[in-house]
Amino acid sequence: MIIPEQAATRIEPERQSLAPRGSLRSRIRQQRLLLVLLIPGLLFFAIFHYAPLYGIIVAFKDYIPPLGIVGSPWVGLRNFERIFRLGFGLQVIRNTLVISGLKLLFVFPAPIILAILINEIRRKRTKRIIQTISYLPHFLSWVIVAGMVIELLSPSRGLYGVIARAFDWELTVPMADTRYFRSILVVSDIWKSAGWGSILYLAAIAGIDTDQYEAAVVDGASRFRQILHITLPGILPVASILFIFQVSDILEVGFDQVFNLMNPAVFEVADVLDTYIYRIGLADGDFGYSTAINLSRNLVALVLLLAANWISRKVTQYGLW
């Protein structure tokens, strides 16, 4: 009868753990289950992520549908030149940068402020309720949120109309007013994303050493000063990383939001790169030009991302990889 300990010592550890041992062929054979599992996923990425890359050459062609990609004539960089020539291209870029900039200024700090405020709540139940309510808009689509916003801002039917009349403001249609549209974008984005964004910061705040607070209390610091000098520096690492990557994302304005809130009356300030790419490409059918803008945008975004990662590593020792 074999005693278990004896049986165990006779087994070679390497074979048990499938660690790299033996030729490539034998390792592949050993891991065949794993590799087979990988096949559908790789196939998926090949088809839906890498195959479209071929379509990028449309940017260099004058795409004529009946001729297909291969048959359409080459035009080299002409589509790219158009970005700067017509004036629309530059306006769109300007809008993108302006809206992104506004969001950096106003939407980025919102979850931080919210987290700090929520953190001040003493009673657990109240805290949980407020948090739950605050995340809710994150789970709604922009179709829904835009619908609600449009309704509320209607001068004839909505809350805006009621308040404007009560205070005798100049009545306008905010959604169609180039003066207000960007503010609508910013405020609605805060509404929708601040709650969910605060989760991360609340976790960061929770990680701050409580001794610091106690020391501050002993020193007689008010709650407000405590926040200023302990909490804020405490979340600075997290905030910095997020900020750096947010800046690198400056070309990404949030297609869903803008697309659902915009209307022709505000194109001048609302048309951003992604909506422009969509309109030119799918609505107007100019595939070449649309792809050219898209490609340019993606390349710039990639460069910005790499730069952000490099900066982030230098400043905070953290990066995406």
Binding site: L35, G41, E151, L159, Y213, S222, R223, G281
Partner: protein, 305 residues
């Protein structure tokens, strides 16, 4: 965090009071739009259009079921509801399985070519072909105007794979080791040990995918032409923007006829609200119960920094 039996100065109490007030106001701004929509959906079209002074507190003078009756009697809304359900029910399990099949091998440090596969996957997170190339591909694959287009192009999200993979990496190796010593083979280890242990993270991912499918509207807009295959969100979007611009969009003649028959007015604000609520209420309803899984999910398996 140390909570206070400590002496609170007036400044402290003022600060406390104002932060609670701000938060309450914030929560009110979140709840209010829903109340507003509910109120509109339960009133008559005439009142919905008029400027009601009662509107600051959404309480309509005339209650009416008209909008809801109209919605119930509009086949196209039910059809799109079905399409949304279809994509959730078909898309979610497929996505879960596909994601897991990708994440599991990648979590094995000894996997042949591991860095290569991960690199292939991660690259797609940072660069893509773009709108038109994707559109051309969908057409070329024969997915245009097919419901499968809801399920296939977005089947695996590299981000989800990474999260599941991190979760799997955190499973102690001893679990697998002892199973191997007991003689289990690769497949048995996977099915009887690893998969059951992965339930929490898969539940979280499942929720994310479900919400994603429920809220999806753009693919329905650009890849689907047949109104009978459109998703609820897209129908809602057309309703909203029809009111704005008077274009039929993908609504087609059929839907407007249905709606006009019910309400007799163009465009029906109350029906718009009712439809919006149909799309929103399932989320509102499920949300309180499922919320903590979402929150937990961000921290489970997610790499910080």
């Amino acid at each position: 965090m140390a909570s206070g039996r400590r002496i609170r100065s007036r400044g402290d109490r003022l600060f406390q009071w104002s932060s609670v007030t701000l938060l309450t106001l914030f929560c009110i701004t979140i709840i209010y739009p829903f109340l507003n929509q509910i109120a509109i959906s339960f009133t008559t079209e005439l009142e919905a259009r008029a400027l009601g002074h009662l509107r600051i507190i959404p309480a309509p003078e005339h209650l009416s079921w008209n909008a809801w009756r109209a919605v119930v009697n509009t086949p196209r809304i039910w059809i799109s509801f079905y399409n949304t359900l279809w994509r959730v029910v078909v898309g979610t399990p497929l996505a879960l399985i596909a994601t897991y099949m990708m994440a599991y091998p990648l979590s094995k440090k000894y996997l042949v070519g591991r860095k290569l596969w991960i690199g292939i996957m991660v690259f797609t997170m940072f660069f893509s072909g773009g709108l038109i190339p994707m559109f051309l591909l969908i057409r070329a694959l024969g997915l245009y105007d097919q419901r499968l287009v809801y399920v296939l192009p977005g089947l695996i999200s590299a981000y989800h794979v990474i999260i599941v993979r991190n979760y799997l990496l955190n499973i102690p190796e001893s679990l697998e080791e002892s199973a191997r010593i007991d003689g289990a083979n690769e497949l048995q280890i996977l099915t009887s040990i690893i998969i059951p242990i992965s339930k929490p993270i898969m539940a979280t991912i499942a929720l994310w995918i479900i919400v994603g499918h429920w809220n999806a509207w753009f693919d329905s807009l650009i890849y689907i032409r047949d109104p009978g295959k459109k998703v609820l969100q897209t129908i809602l979007r057309d309703l909203i923007h029809f009111s704005q611009r008077g274009q039929t969009g993908s609504l087609g003649e059929g839907l407007m006829e249905d709606l006009l028959r019910a309400e007799g007015l163009i465009p029906p604000e109350t029906v718009k609200s009712a439809t919006l609520l149909i799309v929103t209420i399932p989320v509102l309803f499920a949300y309180p119960f499922l919320q903590r899984y979402f929150v937990k999910g961000i921290t489970i398996g997610a790499v910080k920094g």
